[in-house]
């Protein structure tokens, strides 16, 4: 009576386990997010913008650099120029699509770089702890003493205008934020039993961090990083808007918004177009990040 039912229930549990766990965590997350209409719509819009930016040279567009003094600031809907022309007579449709190339790179690359650097820093700080943790986290605190826009502009302003400088300054802004998140989730995981078990079975600190901790914390850090893309897009274009990023005649949404600012009395809605692109990308990334977050929150 004492032994048999126990092993039977244990057997049953073992057999039942594969049935409920047939789908892995990430497969479940994937299934949940594909069922979310808002997320899928945003993903579609982003895919379109990305594809058109990549495939721009093969879309049969006008030359985005070729201007003409006689066809400046045409209105939206002009024959041959569906979205009008800018202050130098360049085709807006072509410039908006080509503009995606630089705008997306300078907006997204800082988050990717900060994700790599911040995750490594946070992981080491969280796992090693002690003095190293104090050193890393107190340094991070200093950057938190600056509002992020001010920090980005201070570094960009000191380094001078340029695409590389704007990417560097935005990376510096996002590294502390990602490090803090990475450190706090790592600290939460490091004292769990399976980490102790790995250590007891002779795994070195690098193996534990790479195999046992990274897999458990990467998801949360990744979701946090995706939520930063929207801010990064706005700030990157903002730096160009101030004249601290891209230089003319490169097509880039922030810079286009700046050079078209003088045209708001002549052709206001053409002047506002590049900002609408920034808005579209930024809101889609925000909604997608929200969708991902709730898809990953399986407990709900």
């Amino acid at each position: 009576m004492s032994e048999l039912p126990l092993s039977v229930t244990a057997d049953a549990a073992l057999q039942a386990a594969p049935a409920t766990k047939a789908r892995g965590y990430w497969a479940t997350v994937g299934r949940r997010i594909t069922r979310d209409k808002v997320s899928m719509a945003c993903a579609l819009v982003l895919l379109l913008i990305f594809l058109s930016a990549i495939l721009a040279p093969w879309l049969g567009l006008e030359d985005p650099y070729k201007g003409s003094m006689i066809r400046r600031l045409r209105h939206i809907g002009t024959v041959g120029y569906p979205l009008g022309t800018d202050e130098l007579g360049r085709d807006m449709l072509a410039r908006l699509i080509y503009g995606g190339r630089l705008s997306l790179v300078i907006g997204i690359l800082p988050v990717i770089l900060a994700f790599c650097i911040g995750t490594s820093l946070g992981l080491v700080a969280g796992y090693v702890g002690g003095k190293l943790n104090t050193a890393i986290m107190r340094t991070i605190d200093v950057f938190y003493a600056f509002p992020s826009v001010l920090l980005a502009i201070a570094i960009s302003g000191a380094l001078g205008a340029g695409i590389l400088n704007s990417i560097v300054s935005l990376t510096v802004v996002f590294v502390p934020q990602i490090t803090r998140v990475a450190e706090s989730v790592t600290t939460g995981v490091r004292n769990m039993d399976f980490v102790d078990a790995a250590r007891a079975s002779g795994a070195g600190p690098f193996t534990i961090m790479r195999v046992h901790i990274l897999g458990n914390v990467l998801g949360s850090i990744f979701v946090y990083a995706t939520s930063l893309i929207s801010v990064s897009m706005i700030l990157a274009a903002g730096l160009s808007f101030l004249g601290l990023g891209t230089k003319p005649p490169e097509p880039e949404w922030g810079l286009m918004l700046n050079t078209l600012r003088t045209a708001i009395y002549v052709n206001p809605w053409v002047a506002a177009l590049p900002g609408a692109m920034i808005f579209a990308v930024s809101i889609c990334f925000n909604l997608l990040s929200d969708g991902l977050r709730s898809a990953m929150d399986i407990r709900n």
Partner: protein
């Protein structure tokens, strides 16, 4: 409480010194000679060396930092290269305008954010919640400098209701609380308010939802408390966190005003920063960033203390 305040103030000292160090080093990460803006292009080697010694650039960096910090403590942040006037006076004059703008934006953004957040949290998962949440997401996703441009296009260019740029009639620098000046504040304040509006809405919505799902609310309702009474409990419990978020947002508005001030030519600290960057006026750049960062640090300190005053749990933790 006093012990807590003292402890928080002691924590702030190393942060203030590090902030000063970052601002000091900013000038040294600039490519090229920091003297390039003051030195004539055909200056001789001797003249350059003389000026370097006069500005103290020939000494080791830690000594330079120490001397700079000592002068800064006495309120001497050097002189602006472009105007020759003391940096501190220039910055303080501009900060006043930025504070005006930030407070106007805070009144709009926080009121809207609290209202929308409370409504959305109370009517969770209904269409009311969806509308409020959409507003919030749009608020945090919109490139605010572009929103400023669009508002100018609608209200200045097309409708001709409000002025497009500046902070007063005839470019007057003195601010006054009359409609002639206030109309210049409307568009910049609305533009600045969208991000805090979005963030406060999201925070208050989440807080309201969490609090309403707790057991004590059930108990309050069970003992027959009417909904307005329940609401008072919700607000009391949400206040510390909401206050912290709003304090931080006020700091962001003060420090991050450069884009909006550029769009509206609003003569605040952001506008000053913009001209400092493009005239390579490094003492002014350094000073503006230092003052704005210190504002932010002290605002955070005030928020922490205010939070502890409202919520006794924080002091103990």
């Amino acid at each position: 409480m006093l012990a807590y305040i003292a402890r928080r103030i002691v924590y702030v000292i190393p942060i203030v010194i590090s902030v000063a160090l970052v601002c000091f080093l900013l000038v040294h990460i600039t490519p090229g000679d920091p003297l390039v803006a003051v030195l004539p292009a055909d200056a001789s080697q001797e003249l350059a060396a003389q000026l370097r010694a006069a500005y103290g650039f020939d000494r080791p960096l830690p000594v330079q930092f120490g001397l700079w910090l000592l002068r800064a403590l006495h309120g001497d942040l050097g002189n602006s290269i472009a105007t020759g006037r003391p940096v501190l006076a220039e910055v303080m004059r501009a900060v006043g305008n930025t504070v005006t703008l930030a407070i106007a934006a805070a009144i709009i953004g926080f009121t809207m954010g609290i209202l929308l957040g409370l409504i959305a949290g109370y009517f969770r998962e209904t269409w009311i919640d969806k509308v409020a949440t959409s507003f919030a997401i749009a608020g945090v996703s919109v490139p605010h400098y572009w929103l400023g441009m669009v508002l100018v296009i609608i209200f200045s260019v097309q409708l001709n209701w409000l002025p497009a740029v500046g902070a007063g009639p005839g470019g007057s620098a003195a601010w006054a609380w009359d409609w002639a000046h206030l109309q210049y504040l409307v568009l910049p304040a609305i533009t600045t308010s969208v991000i805090p509006m979005g963030i406060v809405t999201r925070t208050v919505r989440a807080l309201t939802g969490d609090i309403l799902s707790q057991d004590f609310v059930e108990a309050l309702r069970a003992k027959g408390l009417h909904e307005t009474g329940v609401f008072r409990h919700v607000i009391k419990n949400a206040a510390p966190t909401a206050l912290a978020v709003m304090g931080l947002q006020l700091g962001y508005m003060l420090g991050g005003s450069i884009l909006i001030e550029t769009v509206f030519s609003w003569p605040g600290s952001g506008f000053l920063l913009n001209s400092a960057i493009f005239q390579r006026d490094l003492p002014l750049l350094q000073g503006t960033i230092l003052i704005l960062a210190l504002f932010f640090v002290f605002l955070n300190l005030l928020v922490d203390i205010a939070q502890a005053a409202i919520d006794p749990r924080i002091k103990r933790g």
